[in-house]
């Protein structure tokens, strides 16, 4: 089996009003990787995501899952959507049932599973996002962060291979972001491929294994975050570079060369540890 779990090949899409949202877009999402999709507003991230789940069908080009072309029949779409789950940016758009349990069971019920399996999946999904204790709670009484977690549980209950999250950190405070990151880490450790669209470059730089940068409906760059996010054309497209990378660059101008000493910190904690290690080494006679 190839590394590519989903592949887009020259995909173009034009909305009914004539807006070209994707233009000849080709990209690959690798299995069991944490992929960050970056790009300015209107770059085509959400449209691309809607293609991955079969909500939109390309005007031209093809998509593949496990090297097999997407099938847009009723059965094909049901299978695709059970394997590629999508969590939307606004949880209020996703949650429409009265209780947490009822909403999480919506996906499994659409898969035609029996009641026992649905109950098991719902319980496991809620457990995975640490919401098991709130199964019977009305959805409208949940906090924004809890709603986000219920949305993820709703997708997890379908036991997907890939979870796509559109701006999952938007609207969350720092503590909630940390909690959600921990949930995503657990899911990734369990073998799920995670794809996130984000404007938070620092998060993408520290979290992702693979980054895809989109611009004007196409792929501008792809690779590891430390490789591509420092490229000038990517910096121009995104309007900035990750703060950690900026600090490393500034330190190098001051004579503290972290990269030269073999350190490639991607998070704040790693940066502090690297600075400490390098400065201690330089101080040692």
């Amino acid at each position: 089996m190839s590394d590519a779990i989903i592949r887009l090949e020259n995909v173009s899409y034009r909305y009914p009003d004539g807006t070209a949202a994707l233009t000849d877009c080709s990209l690959t999402i690798n299995r069991n990787k944490r992929t960050a999709v970056l790009g300015a507003n209107g770059a085509g991230k959400t449209t691309m995501f809607l293609h991955l789940n079969g909500i939109l069908q390309p005007s031209s080009g093809r998509l593949f899952r496990d090297d097999i072309p997407f099938e847009y029949s009723r059965t094909g779409l049901r299978k695709l959507r059970s394997k590629v789950g999508m969590v939307f940016q606004n949880p209020d758009s996703q949650l429409f049932s009265a209780s947490v349990q009822e909403d999480v069971s919506f996906g499994p019920m659409n898969l035609g599973l029996d009641t026992t399996t649905i109950r098991r999946r719902v319980a496991e999904a809620l457990g995975a996002v640490a919401m098991a204790g709130l199964a019977d709670k009305p959805v409208h009484n949940l906090s924004y962060g809890q709603k986000k977690r219920v949305c993820i549980a709703g997708v997890l209950a379908m036991e997907p291979e890939v979870i796509i999250l559109d701006e999952p950190m938007a609207g969350l405070d720092a503590a909630m972001q940390e909690e959600l990151t921990a949930v995503l880490e657990r899911l990734h450790a369990g073998g799920i491929t995670i794809v996130i669209a984000t404007h938070d470059l620092d998060f993408a730089y520290g979290w992702a294994d693979q980054a895809l940068v989109m611009q004007s409906g196409g792929l501008l760059a792809h690779g590891t975050p430390e490789d591509i996010l420092l490229r000038p054309e990517v910096g121009n497209a995104l309007g900035t570079i990750p703060q950690i990378a900026e600090i490393i660059h500034s330190l190098s101008l001051l004579g503290i060369d972290l990269r030269g000493n073999g350190y490639l910190p991607r998070t704040r904690n790693e940066l502090v540890a690297a600075i400490a290690a390098v400065t201690t080494r330089e101080d040692t006679p």
Partner: protein, 270 residues
């Protein structure tokens, strides 16, 4: 809290009651739909001046509420909400129909007053039965039951979407109303122009939000069919429930137990 928010939460609360685990909740949804339908038909089949014949029918909602362990204050509040509408419908009855129908001592009660009272009673009974049905079954399951009873799928799906759209509409209306209030500086008269624009925006916003919700439903494997929480299997208990209530309603309708009881009491204690 905004009145619209309260109304939405209240509506959702009704759906939450349907997740109970009593015997009534466990009955086949088709049976509950049929029993409720028979009940409503029996109640509305009385003529406009009927009061005595309707009284025994209060047993059904009382028994169902007790056995389903539904909160009486909640249901009572919902029923009181409809009072103004019924009063509006029957407000002219006492004025138009002044013929004396009952006489209590020296007080003459006109046919209009009796028909208004009968209308109120029938409305409480039928709407109460419908509320109990939703609170013990859930709207999705009711629609599934209707489909299994022969209603075309296209109608049941429309009903379900309409039901879900109500929540979307109410939530968006609440946001629009709050935004208007925040910038109206306490004044109430903002003119028909402002109201028209607000309504137009509300329609567009609910439309867009409904589309987003539909997209999220599609992404979770929705293919045009709603699936209820319970898998229905018709049991002997369901059959007993259906037959016993149907026969009871038929007896109540034909034999008029209130009159019989009255005759018995007056016969026993002449």
């Amino acid at each position: 809290m905004n009145a619209i928010t309260t109304a939405v939460i209240d509506l959702k609360q009704l759906e939450l009651f349907a997740q109970g685990d009593t015997q009534v909740h466990g009955r086949d949804a088709r049976v509950k739909v049929l029993v409720t339908l028979f009940f409503i038909l029996s109640v509305i089949s009385y003529h406009r001046y009927e009061i005595n014949g309707l009284l025994p029918f209060t047993l059904f909602p009382i028994i169902m509420v007790c056995r389903a362990e539904l909160p009486i204050p909640y249901l009572a509040r919902k029923m009181l909400l409809i009072c103004p509408f019924i009063l509006l419908i029957g407000a002219f009855n006492p004025l138009l129909d002044r013929s004396t129908l009952w006489q209590v001592g020296s007080i003459e009660i006109s046919g209009g007053c009796i028909s208004l009272l009968s209308l109120l009673l029938r409305s409480f009974l039928t709407i109460g039965a419908a509320l109990i049905l939703v609170a013990t079954t859930g709207f999705t399951t009711i629609c599934q039951a209707l489909e299994r009873l022969g209603m075309p799928e296209v109608f049941t799906v429309q009903l379900l979407f309409l039901h879900r759209y109500l929540f979307v509409l109410a939530e968006e209306a609440e946001r629009a109303s709050r935004a208007r209030e925040l910038r109206s500086c306490g004044s109430t008269g903002r003119g028909i122009g402002s109201f028209g624009s607000l309504t137009g925006h509300l329609l567009l916003r609910t439309w867009q939000r409904a589309e987003r919700i539909h997209t999220t439903m599609l992404s979770r494997g929705f293919t045009g069919q709603f699936h209820g929480q319970r898998r229905e299997r018709f049991s002997h208990a369901d059959l007993t429930f259906l037959i016993s209530w149907s026969v009871t309603f038929l007896l109540m309708r034909t034999m008029e137990p209130a009159t019989l009881l009255g005759s018995f009491i007056t016969g026993a204690f002449p």
